[in-house]
Each structure stands twice: as structure tokens, then as C-alpha cells.
Amino acid sequence: MWKEYSSNYIKNNRSSSLSVIIASFISALLLSLLCGSFYNLWKYEVERIELEEGGWHSRILGELPSKDLETIKSFANVEDAVVNEKGQKGTGPTVDIFFNDKKAVFSDTLHIAEQLGIPQEKIVYNYELLAMYLIRDASDTAPRLLFLLFLLITLAASFSLIVIIHNSFAVSMNQRIHQFGIFSSIGATPKQIRTCLLQEAAALCAGPVLVGNLLGIAGSAGVIHLSNRMLGSGIAGRHKASFGYSPVVLALTLLVIIVTIGISAWLPARRLSKLTPLEAIKNTGELQLRHKKSSRLLSLLFGIEGELAGNALKAQKKALRTASLSLLASFLGFSLMQCFFSLSQISTRETYFERYQDVWDIMTTVKDTDVDNFTETAAVQALEGIKSAVIYQKASAKRIIAEEEMSEEMKSFGGFAQAPADYASQTEGGWLVNAPIVIMDDQSFSAYCEQIGIIPRLDGAVILNQIRDVTNPDFRHPVFVPYIKAPDVGENAVSVLRQSGSNEETAEIFVLSYTQEVPALREEYATLDYYELVHFIPVSLWKKIKGQIGGTEADSYICVRGREGVTLEELHTIQGKIAQLVDGKYTIEQENRIQEYELNNRQIQGMMAVFGAFCILLAIIGIGNVFSNTLGFVRQRKREFARYMSIGLTPEELKKMFCAEAAVVAGRPILISLPIVVAAVGFMLKASYMEAGVFMAKAPYIPILLFMLAILASAALAYYLAWRNVQKIRLAEVLKDDTML
């Protein structure tokens, strides 16, 4: 009998069934897409960490006797322990430990160290990898929010999707309270009613949930494919993402949907069990307001129809909450994202691409190589098609600036008074500041000397004599003043460099010139530490002093400039030639300016696509909720509309009321968002010292307007469809129908 009743109900109430089918399909699709994409993002991050850092969980620095290695392997929770000859930078070999139960990594590693008598300082944990399994330790102070952020976004979106399914069911099921009241009055038990509702839910949702899930999985594979295509191998060090899917994810997605549907179907049955059959029969689920409310603005704009719409919306507040919040979050998020990325694009273009347009075309990082050991300098510089090639390496050192050396301009803004202790510390002889060294190949250094108008020599340094006015926080328009007072350059002009971390070791080098002009390298100076005094020296000089100073970075660089108006193809050819020259001798990574510009744009577009997709998802949730409400409310609000019509509300006036409702549903999130967006953009402009006019000229009006129109149009469509259904109401029948009391 139940089966017969349910199948009849489904057949005869197609619109109500359809809204449940659509809601369960869309929710299953989006939930599966979201969970699948999230799983793959997580998988990619884990793979990246394993490739870059290794898949070990904890690591013991230094070598261990094989007996100790066997002891580690014999621990119950240890999956494996291997000697890593390469180890960490500067520490030599290590023993990498892999655990079965990752949660016990901190306690078990300490236990191992205790047993083997290894001091705690020699233990290192792979915090980044462990954080991807939500395993954290108090001693790791880094935020590591990526995974948590993924998880929160997924949970928030999943919750919204669950609410859609639930709402769609709630609307459909509430309509049934009356019918089930009748069943109850003739002796149906709550269990029988519950079974009937669950059977119905299963019949309606099984197919859409399954198809939605499968399409969601296919969609997440598409997302991975698209991200590989968009980002490709353009980013130095990026590995290709491979699609993967875990049965756990499928099971979890299905479980979440099934539980949601089950609860949504079960709730009306529970509600019914609390009502007497008579109360259930009298149930209309009609919109009610407990207290007097006024909708002044809507009354003013739309007249009495506005007031009716306003009050109806207030009565539906709970049902429309998901729609309101999702639309607000999506529009706010989308607008802020558009503004943020526009601002960021303008900023990157002004501070990076436009500033470095003429200083580099190809950058080659020669891994783990000192510039004085690089043997291909002449060959690279002789390559056809290049204007210049500078081979350089960076090193760190310190230098003391005596009080009398400081320029008057620097003194005028307080000298080192505002300098943080990390950057400038007071010593007996003056202020100890960082003195980064840029070691250039001899030919390039000579060219640089000529560029600044001095006779090229390979036994001295050129010092960048400028410091930023620290009292002016506008980083976009910085003011530079001389650092050192009236530099005295001559045979006796020297700079005493000290080894970083040890004041004992010094090297006295001859100063060729103080200048405010820098060589054409893709480098920024004194951006974090305003007080650093940069030294440019030739590699010949470095060979003489490196014993005293040291402190070089691991890699060297080749900064190549092509001809004026060089094309991407030409740059690719040059890159190929450089790679050929160093092939087998050095490990390199290459970037080129045009590709990086395009890649930067693609990355921003990619980020905007991901974030935009999330906003669109939220908008779909909101609009989906509006649709499920409007499609469902025709039945729920039939009596209300009949009442309006019975006292003389014309179809046109009813339409006006619907317009007012649609305008509020779609317009309110927009009106709330706009002032927040304006305030946020104002704050961002102030913080980034960007002129409002510059931003306004490039502001993302069109995407925001399109998004706004899409929300308005979707709400309008939902209400239009509802309006069409309302027109089909037969007034006399509704008024006659005592079951609709």
C-alpha cells in the first residue's frame, strides 16, 4: 500500500519530485566535485612535499652505526629507517624514519632518541608533511594553514550543499504533514510513515545521487587536467599533478548525502509524531508572523505589494537563510577577489615587470655551484643572440658604519635610531650592518664600472651608496638619500667586510666607487633590511677574500639580456643553447621574462578561476536555494496567493509582489556587499600606497557587474517560474479546499 501510495504521489506531483531530484543531483555533483578536487589538491601538496623534502616523518641528523639503524627498524611503529647520504643542506647524511602510525611520530622519535642516546637537537620533524595529516606539534610555530584552509572551505561548502538538500526535502515533506495526518488518523504508526518517507526519498534520490557523484568525480579529473594545462611545467620546480581518487572519498561523499537525505526525510516524521492527527490534518505550513513587522522601504518602492512581499520574506526568513548567506558570501567574495587581483596585477606590473623589463630576459639558476667554479662563463657570454650575460652569486657579510661616515641626509631621519636589532647593532666602532656581496664575473663587472663612469679594475668593490628614507612608509614612491657621507675614493679608500656571524674574520677591500646606480640584474636591494650596504665585486677579487668571508648562497645565476624586442621563441632558443652548454656539468633551472609574465597572468587567472569557481559554487548554492524555495512555495503559499486574489489583488499586482521579493532576495546581498567592498578596497589602496585613480582605471567593473546581473537574473528566473505556476492556481478550488485551512 505504501509503495503504491508513494509511487502515485511521485507520479502526480512531478514538480515537487523534480525539485528534490534536481537538488539531490546538483548537491551530489557539487559535493563529489568539491571532495574530489579537495582530495587531489591535498594529494598534490603531499606529493610536492615528498618530492622537495622527502616522505620521511622524522629525521636524525648525522651518521649512525648500522647497529643503531637496526634498533630503530625494530621499533613496532617504525615502517622503515634509511640512511640519506644527501641529507639536509649543510648537515651531511641523515637517518630518515618512516612510521606506520604518523600520530605517534613525536613521542616515538623521542623514545628512539632516548634509547640510542641521541640529543634532541639532532632530531628534525617533517612538519610540513605531518601538517597535511593534521598532525601538529607545539614546538612548530609556523602557521601551516594550507590544509586547514582547504578543509574549512570544503566543510563550509559541503555544509551549504547539505543545507540545500535538507531545505529542498523540508519544503517537499512539510507539504505532506497534512496527508500523513490523514494516514495517522486512520491508524498508520509513525514507523510506517517514516518507512514510507524514506522509501520515497530513496526512490527519488538514488539515481540522481549516483549519477551526480560519478559526474563529480569526472569533473574533479577535469579540474586537475585543466590546472596541468594552465600551469603546466611553467613554474620552476612544479610537478605535474596526477589525478587520483580514493574509495574513502567516494564512501564519505555518499555517506554524507545519504545521511542528509535520511535526516531530511526523517524530520517530518518526527514532527508528525509530536502532532495529534487533527493538528496534522489542519497543518498548512503557511507563512506566519508572530509580531507586527513593517517593510517601509519596500512599501515606499512597491506600495502595498512591497509590504506584502516584505512580510512574506520575513516569514520565510529561516527558509531563505541559506540563500541569503550564500549569495552574500559569493558576491562579497567574488568582488573582493576581483578587486584584490586587479590591485595585485597593477602592483606586480608596476613594481616588477615594468621595473625589471630591461634588466633580464632569461634567468638561469645554476644549482649548488659557486660562481668562481663555474667554467662556462666565456661560452655563455659568447652565445649568439644575446646582448649581455652576467654570471653572479650572492654572499652575506657585515660591515661597521662609524658615526662620522653617515651622510647628513641619513642623520636627518635619525640615523640608525629606528633600525631593528637584526639589521643594525651598535658596537664600539659604530653600527654593524649587513653588507650583502654580489659577486659578478669579471667581464660583467668591468662593463658595470664603465656604466658608472669609472675605470674598470678587478681588485676593488663598487658600493651602492643609497638608503631609503625610513620615515616615509610609501614603498611605492620611496625616497633614497646617500648612505655614506662625501665618499672619499682613492688609493686608501677601503671597506672592511666581516664574516656573517663572526666578527673575528675580516677582509679589507679596496673601494673603486660609491654609486647610486646598480648593475642590470634581476635583484632587489634593501627591500626588507633598509640599512644594508650592498657591495658589487668581481669574481677575481672574491677568489682572494672568500677564505676570510665565506657566506655564499648555494646557487649561482646567469642573467641574460636578449636583443631589443626579443621574442619568446628566440628566448627559448637561447635557453636551449645555455642548457646545452652546461648539460651534464651543472643542474639548472631556467625562467624567461616573457614566459614568466604570461605565467604570472595565467597563475592569477588560475587563482581567480579557482576562487571564482568557489564563489560561483556559493552563488549556485544560493540560487539553488532560491529555486528550491520558489518552486516549492507555490504549493506552500497557494492559500496565501488565493487569499490575495480573493480580496482583489490582480495578476499584475501579484507579479509586482514577486518582483519585489526577487529584488530583495538578490538585491540585499549586493547592497550589503558593495559598501564592504568599497571600504575594503579603500583599505587595500591605502595599505599599498596606490592612487585611487590608477586602480579606478583598471577596476574590475565588468566581471562584478556580470556577476551581479547573473545573481539578479537567476533570482528573477526563479520567481518568474514560480509566477507561471501561481497563474495556474484555480482560485475557486483553493478557496473551496478545506484541507488548506
Binding site: 506566519q288 507586527k292 516569514a315 480573493s646 482583489g648
Partner: protein, 226 residues
């Protein structure tokens, strides 16, 4: 003066073999200021007749003229405006708008026409119906009897040509039923309001000055009592 005229009104539901004749050639004439009761058992067609007179339904055949307007010629919008201005409908289950206060419910037909109420008349109506102190309440805060009075006040606010009441006491206890009938009589007498009351209760029908009896969609009796 004749305010309502029905000529051969027929209403048939369903198609083919499933046809049900709800009204079968109704001829009826009501003069201004009359208080008429239409008496009949369940299924006699009295509610169908009321819906047709209230322009919420259309007859299958025949003619209905109220205050000079032929209802069969009205489109949806015209019918709605007619309902707003020419007839006041009182239902068994009040049909108040649950999201509006009592005052706004009563003034709704005027508000739809963007008209301001005649304050004197408004006060007279609410005071005579005993709901002057309930104007700011919401419908669900009132008893059944009070809700029915609000419904009557709403039907009277536009001074309609015809007040149609469909079993207005059907959901009320004896005391409230008595009061509602008294209100209708009062409005008939004091405001010269034409009233057509539909009931299955003979005792209630006896309160009217004319009783029309219906059976199987036909008028079988028309008795003037005063």
C-alpha cells in the same frame, strides 16, 4: 432596485462521462439592501453559486450581472478589481493575511487601490464590530470570533455592492455565531448593506429576511419572511 441578477446560470465540472452539474439553470434577483440567506445541504451547489457571484469562478453558461457588471465578460484583472470594489467575501475560515496586522488586513482592498480610508467610516466599522482595540494585533493572536469580525470589517471597508458570506459561523461556537450574525444584521440595517449569506443551518437562515433554498444545483424555494 435590483443589484444582482442571475439568468440560467449553469456550472458543470469534469468532462465526458465524469460530468457533475453543480448549478443547473439558476435564475435569481436580489434588490439593494436585502439580507438573503441561501439554504441548502452539502453538495446542493450553494458554495459554487457564491464563488460565481464573487467572481472567483466562472459559470459554464448563463449570465450574472452585479451592480450593472456582467461577470462573464471580465478577464482575470477585471475580475480581481471587481472583487476588490464590488463584493465583500466572508469565508468560514476567515482568510485573513497572516503576515499583516488587523488594521492592514481591513484596509487591504483600499490599499490595493491606493486609496486612503474614510477615517470616520473605518472607526464606525471597527467599533461596531468590537475590534477597535485589536487593530495592531496579528491575526494569529485573535480568537476565531475576532478573526471573523476582522474578515467582515475587511469585506465592508470598500462599501461593496454585495457582501457574500460563506458559512461565516461554521467555525464558531454558539456565542460567537450569534454575535457574527448580529453584526451582519447590523451592517444590513445601518449601512443598508446587501448581504447574501450561505448556510446549511436553518436557524441561521431564519435570521435573514429572505430564504432561498437550493437542492441539486437548483433553486427549489424562495421565501420572503418580512
Amino acid at each position: 432596485m435590483e443589484i444582482l441578477k442571475c439568468e440560467g446560470v449553469r456550472k458543470v465540472y469534469g468532462f465526458g462521462g465524469n460530468q457533475v452539474t453543480a448549478l443547473d439553470g439558476i435564475d435569481l434577483s436580489v434588490n439593494r439592501g436585502e439580507f438573503v440567506a441561501i439554504l441548502g445541504a452539502s453538495g446542493s451547489g450553494k458554495s459554487t453559486l457564491l464563488h460565481i457571484l464573487g467572481s472567483v469562478d466562472k459559470p459554464t453558461g448563463g449570465k450574472v450581472i452585479i451592480d450593472g457588471t456582467d461577470l462573464s465578460k471580465l478577464n482575470q484583472t477585471q475580475a480581481a478589481i471587481f472583487r476588490r470594489r464590488k463584493v465583500g467575501l466572508v469565508y468560514q475560515f476567515y482568510n485573513l493575511i497572516p503576515t499583516l496586522t488587523v488594521r492592514k488586513n481591513i484596509l487591504m482592498p483600499l490599499s490595493l487601490d491606493k486609496k486612503t480610508p474614510n477615517q470616520e467610516y473605518f472607526e464606525k466599522v471597527v467599533e461596531s464590530l468590537g475590534i477597535a482595540d485589536k487593530l495592531d494585533a496579528m491575526p494569529n493572536q485573535l480568537s476565531g470570533g475576532q478573526q471573523q469580525r476582522v474578515s467582515i470589517a475587511r469585506s465592508l471597508i470598500y462599501r461593496p455592492a454585495l457582501l457574500l458570506a460563506d458559512e461565516p459561523t461554521g467555525n464558531l461556537d454558539q456565542k460567537n455565531s450569534r454575535e457574527v450574525i448580529d453584526m451582519l444584521k447590523l451592517s444590513n440595517r445601518n449601512l443598508e448593506q446587501t448581504i447574501l449569506l450561505i448556510t446549511h443551518d436553518e436557524k441561521i437562515a431564519l435570521e435573514a429576511e429572505r430564504i432561498i433554498t437550493m437542492e441539486d444545483g437548483r433553486i427549489i424555494g424562495d421565501e420572503r419572511r418580512r
